[in-house]
Symmetry: C2
């Protein structure tokens, strides 16, 4: 490429950074596209300066060195989401230095915590030319307060590490994990507004206090963190004045380097359940029966309605279930599911408390399911069933990597992209969504491997788009299918709560122009050089 510097602001104004429509031809030395407006000399200068801060061994600045950061499960047919480099600081001061260097060289930084956001992009970036700011080395558990049931951790801390710390110190607190808990951590998951399975499953709701390196290299502490003796930093979420923590989630307004979270006291007793239903259309009844119990907190954790397809895909290959062409029919999932002790819908939830409380709530729950022909089963009924065991583990904050198996449904290529549109928690919302999802997935030959979840008052439709990434043609199809899902559901008013780096702009479009304009204005104010993760959530 030439040394001509394109005007970055005019590219931003033209929407180019969001869509990378004007992506500049790559420098062959790196085999990758640089960021729009950036000169090759800038990239080289940034890499050199990064090395001076963190040491050579913690910087990847060429095509071969960056390979570990290019692995992804989501479809990326053109490879345009691969980063061009990576830098791994070990402390806050280094992050500050890196951010200052990035400003100097107009080098965009794509921040990741543990970088294991499977199905959403791992360490790949929304737009070309970014260097991964990989915080995995910042993995200190700064404090755990056993009385307040709080923790303060760095971005590289994994759930496994936190669990081990609590065990080693005999602190009777639970953690709440997403799937693949052992390799991911609270900071990254919470900032992506991820969820888990215990009563503390809404991770952003139980987050408390942040330390953020802003784009100018200075440090902001949110909430009570900047008071003279910030002993309430992890105790009180809001602080004073505008509550800012929210703008650092699903965004690119700062680099969160410390985060507080609340931990759940271990309950006296824990009792997991599964309820089986046989027919696809039963999910409407389940949603309507569960909504009041979830809202009244009779059931204090997420009600997860796992489809037979999603369940089977965890522990089987597609060929084990169906050898025909096209989308696996419901009947095949039902048949294979029945053999595995599964219903078409498998509704997981748990009760927590004293034996008396659990017995009382169990009565209420059983009555609700009796009215809708649900088969209520407990641990004793499900001994040896790996599906039950998996969910029973998750619902007590246990660690499991079993869902990684999903990515092998179609083959060893490892293709997985989550699509998760949101609706109100009403049974009437399900039929139209199921029909639409099957139709779009079917058009591209993909299976309807799904779950529904009632978080609180909202219904998540969680669709695992499973494909074989080792087949370039199938990867292209998966990419197009995903985009059709976003657009098709969006047209009906079902927009995603979260999405992968391949579809951030597209999903942002579902949320209206004013929303984007406000985000853009805040971005311009807080990061005038747009060096922090351009393209994240559609924000240039």
């Amino acid at each position: 490429m030439s040394e001509v510097t394109l005007d970055r602001r005019s590219l931003i104004a033209a929407g180019a950074l969001g869509t990378a429509a004007l992506g500049i031809a790559g420098d062959s030395a790196f085999g990758k596209t640089l960021s729009p407006g950036q000169r090759k000399a800038d990239f080289a200068g940034a890499i050199k300066a990064f090395r001076a801060v963190v040491g050579d061994e913690w910087v990847a600045g060429d095509a071969s060195a960056v390979i570990p950061w290019t692995k992804t499960y989501i479809p990326d047919p053109g490879g345009r989401h691969a980063p061009v480099g990576a830098v791994c600081p070990e402390n806050v001061e280094q992050v500050q230095e890196i951010v200052r260097i990035a400003n100097r060289f107009k080098q965009p930084l794509w921040t990741v915590s543990t970088g294991k956001n499977m199905g959403y992009g791992m360490t790949s970036c929304a737009t070309p030319g970014q260097v991964v700011l990989d915080l995995k080395r910042m993995n200190r558990i700064i404090s755990v307060d056993a009385e307040l049931c709080t923790a303060l951790v760095e971005p590289g801390v994994t759930y496994q590490q936190l669990r081990d710390y609590l065990d080693e110190n005999n602190i009777p607190l639970w953690i709440d994990v997403p799937t693949v808990g052992p390799i991911v951590g609270p900071v990254g998951n919470t900032l992506d507004r991820g969820v888990g399975y215990t009563p503390y499953g809404e991770h952003f709701m139980v987050q408390c206090g942040m330390e953020v390196v802003m784009a100018d290299g200075e440090v902001l502490r949110t909430g009570m963190g900047s008071t003279k003796n910030p002993s309430a930093w992890q105790a009180f979420k809001w602080g004073y004045g505008p509550y800012l923590d929210g703008i650092f989630t699903q965004s690119n307004f700062g680099v969160v380097v410390k985060m507080g979270l609340w931990l759940m006291p271990a309950p006296p007793v824990y009792k997991p359940f599964v309820v089986r239903h046989k027919r696809m259309e039963d999910v409407a009844r389940i949603v309507d029966a569960m909504r009041p119990m979830r809202i009244s907190n009779i059931i204090p954790n997420v009600v997860l309605m796992m489809g037979a397809g999603y369940q089977l895909a965890m522990f089987n290959r597609r060929a084990d279930v169906w050898s025909g062409a096209g989308q696996v029919p419901d009947s095949a999932f039902a048949e294979a599911g029945a053999k595995a002790g599964l219903g078409m819908w498998n509704t997981y939830f748990a009760l927590y408390g004293t034996p008396v409380m659990i017995a009382e709530n169990e009565k209420i729950v059983r009555a609700a399911f009796a009215a809708i022909d649900g088969e209520v089963l407990t641990e004793e009924d499900m001994v040896g069933n790996p599906y039950f065991h998996h969910h029973a583990t998750l619902m007590r904050g246990g660690l499991s990597l079993e869902e990684v198996g999903l990515a092998r449904w179609k083959g060893a290529g490892g293709g997985l992209a989550w699509f998760a549109p949101v609706a109100p928690a009403k049974g009437s919302e399900t039929a139209g969504q199921i029909e639409l999802a099957k139709q779009i997935l079917g058009k591209y030959g993909f299976d309807y491997t799904v779950a529904f979840a009632i978080g609180s008052r909202e219904l998540h439709h969680i669709i695992a788009l499973l494909y074989d990434k080792s087949d370039p043609e199938e990867e292209k199809r998966a990419d197009q299918c995903y985009k059709d899902l976003v657009t098709g559901f969006g047209e009906r008013g079902w927009a995603s709560y979260r999405t992968g780096v391949h579809s951030m702009d597209l999903v942002a479009q579902q949320y209206g122009t004013k929303n984007r304009a406000v985000n853009a204005a805040i971005k311009q104010a807080l990061d005038p050089n747009h060096i922090l993760a351009p393209g994240k959530s559609g924000i240039a």
Copy 2:
């Protein structure tokens, strides 16, 4: 004043708008100070244009017409917090027009919902020269979803109105009210991050979706509100991308014209409790005993430890309790309290659920109090006790104006300012705070009329600064006392979660310079003319 326009931005840069140190001499026609940088002709032009939008009868543009908006309970010795005018739109379009006019004439607008924020400033403003944007006429309950247990309301809707609506439509949902519930509303209280007394007492936590008129006159809907069919707007808090709702609380970044909130399903049974303790120092033990029960949700609502002084001040005049000089001593409060059926500390909380659940939790709670010599009392024990009745009303979301009586403790002048610093919920935090509060209050001759509250993991120290506003000398003392409280507690790391218009800058200083710089940058980006409520939370 001269017609010379001061440069507004340079004043902002100098911090003048925050402190109004450079307040321009008032126009005698209005008897009030205009906003820095504003010309008299601008004010007149704005008022004229407002009249054209809402009609003459809904604009106050001179000193006598604005009197209804100048009443305040907080100390304001110089009268510098009084507004110079008021405008009352009846719909969103009018708000948009008013905001556009305000930009044209550089006329700052101080937004209020119902304007009854007693003890925090009512409709008075942080800085001089503002016109109150009074949204009381926008009082439509736009929707209530009885299945999802949600509501969407305008800023003028009062809790009484919402309660009546639910009753008239036989919808079995509770509301959660702050004190003086009948005359205030969910939008104003939530935006100020106010709290109530049921399990839905953390109002911002149960808020869901906003419609906001931005400073450019355009409308932003947060969360799911801008999707094509926003049926999940009140069901799902976060939407996609940066979560923005928080920046519209305790701030001046937009005018919230609609807000969604979650409502609590009426529980089968409700059982309120009070626990009496005799000694001032007992509060430390209470906090430590209650923290784990609050965190584990055994007690699902705020644990409110009401001091005898605060309690007595609700229904008595000071002269009934103490006729001596200086601060009322603990012994006098203890003695008068005992006669009224009160302890030195009266810890209120409630249980909600089926009879079995309540019985189970009551056992646990009673055991905890038995260990710390608490006298546990229920409704049967407290028949006819007005204090118990008051709190039992609040903890079921009932409406009461009884706490208004506080403002008459020292006389008919009506002087009240809340000071509420935050600490972690640990008993060890209480002794130092009590000593410091008594010392500062005592220095100015004011009484220690207080409560402590455990919200979740945090301890609020709620100090009612009660004085006689009809005595100008006492008002001055109260003003200085309040400032000493903010500064004195701030030095020890106990900063306020909320404050009145007379002390917003001072409290903002407790939260550090970077916090203020980030707020200022967002303000500049979203409201470049600084026409929305300058000075709110110390943001010019």
